[in-house]
């Protein structure tokens, strides 16, 4: 199921509860932000990327994402070493909005404890529950804004 209530959440990906996604290719894990995140955030205007060769732990804030005025976190979905950064984002952060699972990828991590880390992420049938909870929370926020 890739489309959940209007949000594209590809089946093959793993999701962290802080809205980052992980695509596994051997021990290399490509990381980005979900369609849900980019829709809620609106136009992304800057990404504060970590450095290559930085070591990160699962759940650690490894970058910052600025959307208009608020600044959110890029949370590492797995532990390991950052081996690649998407330098295209320096010129065009809107890639995160227009193609969050493709050209809008953010970093690649060489995972150090992949099997264990993947067990802590949201995947498969659990994704629908997760996104529905996120939607409910967002609807409550909007109701408060309008109220």
């Amino acid at each position: 199921m890739a489309n959940i209530k209007g949000y594209n959440m590809p089946d093959e990906l793993y999701y962290h509860e802080e809205d980052s996604w992980a695509r596994v290719d051997g021990t290399k894990v490509t990381v980005g932000m979900t369609d849900f995140f980019q829709k809620e955030a609106g136009d992304i205007v800057f990404v504060d990327l970590p450095d290559e060769e930085d070591e990160v732990s699962q759940g650690e804030v490894c970058g910052k994402i600025q959307s208009r005025k608020w600044i959110g976190n890029l949370v590492a979905p797995v532990s390991g070493e950052i081996v690649e950064l998407n330098e295209e984002l320096e010129e065009d952060t809107s890639l995160i909005n227009t193609d969050p699972y493709g050209e809008g990828w953010i970093i690649v991590i060489e995972a150090s404890d992949l099997e264990s880390d993947l067990g802590n992420l949201i995947h498969g049938d659990a994704v629908a529950d997760f996104i529905e909870k996120q939607i409910k929370k967002a609807e409550q926020e909007k109701a408060k804004e309008e109220g």
Binding site: E40, A41, G42, D43, V45, F46, D48, V61, K64, Q66, S67, R68, K69, W70, I71, G72, N73, E90, E91, D92, T93, S94, N97, K137, A138, Q140, E141, K142, K144, E145, E146
Partner: protein, 358 residues
């Protein structure tokens, strides 16, 4: 029946205006204290010395005329939350709030804090006799004019820092002198530009209003809306050490103030003759985003319409399809007499093509 009073802490010293280093370091400490020091939410109300503060990811050298700041004795610094340049001073209330994003009454997410907190500020203005409303995503407005700007950032875990500047009075000539934006090139028109887009408590009430009165209204509004009581307090020993660390690591540190972690700042001018008149577009770009746009020329329109169009583009992607889409969302027939969205988009794209680095 006994009910438990919920206390928040209030850091407030209106006896003096503080340096940018002190004010910003205290603000950064607020969410740390909530997350790691078992503090209840902390509201910090204060004023700065005359100063100008850029957003975390702005190019300070492109945003400001630093030499003019030095000559005029205006402090400059960089805050830890997002957004654009703000002028601060003794007539502008600075507000920092450290709170958990899941606190009852807030939205439950970073984007969701703006509505409820804007509502509190709007209620504060209502106490002063000013009717204002939240203009998503980040402004508080009175009759289409901005009176306060809001910004926020996650600092640690679920705790966040929320920042606001509320204009009690404002020095527009100072702003045009020290800011290095396309607007500066419209110096003569600039007064009109700014005065049509911004307002202040004093202007709305037609009288001088002491800052203390505005601060009192904000306190009372927070207490009522969140059902809490403030306890005036000061940073304790743990917090004082954190404040000192932030002062040293950030606000007197040239690497922080002149940080190069920002999108490239560029500016472009686009001119296009149209059947509605000459269109002149001043475009400030921040990486691939529009930081600011000024639409001017000899066409027929109203300042409200122009402001609405400009605002629809602020901090959005500068891609052609995005510009067209965002203009279409607010476009009404004859907003600019004789013009349409594709023509306006084309003029903006000409400005984009003509961009030069600042």
């Amino acid at each position: 029946m006994l009910t438990m009073t919920v206390h928040w802490r209030l850091f407030k010293d209106m006896s003096r205006s503080v340096s940018t280093a002190e004010g910003l370091a205290v603000d950064d400490t607020l969410p740390q204290s909530v997350a790691h020091h078992q503090s209840p939410p902390i509201l910090h109300l204060y004023t700065f010395v005359p100063s100008v503060i850029v957003g975390k990811y702005q190019d300070i050298e492109a945003a400001l005329r630093l030499e003019r700041c030095r000559v005029r004795g205006i402090e400059y610094n960089r805050r830890s939350t997002g957004g654009g340049t703000v002028i601060m001073g003794p007539e502008i209330v600075a507000l920092g709030l450290g709170i958990n994003v899941d606190y009852p009454g807030l939205g439950g997410g970073l984007g969701g804090v703006f509505g409820p907190l804007a509502h509190v500020l709007s209620k504060a203005l209502e106490r002063l006799g000013i009717s204002s409303y939240f203009q998503p995503k980040n402004d508080l407005e009175v009759n289409g004019k901005k009176i306060a700007g809001l910004s926020a950032a996650y600092e640690t875990g679920k705790s966040l820092l929320f920042h606001t500047s509320l204009l009690v009075d404002f020095d527009i000539p100072l702003m045009t002198d020290i800011m290095n934006t396309p607007l500066i090139k419209l110096r003569d028109k600039g007064y009109n530009c700014f005065s049509q887009r911004m307002t202040t408590v004093c202007k709305e009430l037609g009288e001088d209003v002491p800052v203390q009165r505005v601060v009192g209204a904000i306190e009372a509004s927070f207490e009522e809306e969140f059902g809490i009581c403030f306890q005036e307090d000061e940073p304790d020993h743990w917090e004082t050490e954190v404040i000192q660390r932030y002062v040293k690591e950030r606000y007197i540190n040239q690497d922080w103030i002149f940080s190069h972690k920002h999108p490239r700042a560029r500016m472009g001018l686009g001119r296009l003759k149209t059947r509605g008149g000459l269109l002149e577009i001043y475009l400030a770009l921040s990486g691939g985003s529009i930081e600011n746009v000024i639409i001017t020329g000899d066409f027929f329109s109203t300042s409200e319409h122009i402001y609405r169009l400009e605002k629809a583009l602020k901090w959005t992607s500068a891609r052609e399809e995005s510009v067209g889409e965002n203009l279409s969302k607010v476009w009404q027939d004859d907003m600019i007499y004789g013009l349409d969205v594709p023509t306006l988009t084309r003029a903006i794209m000409i400005a984009k093509e003509n961009q030069v680095r600042l």
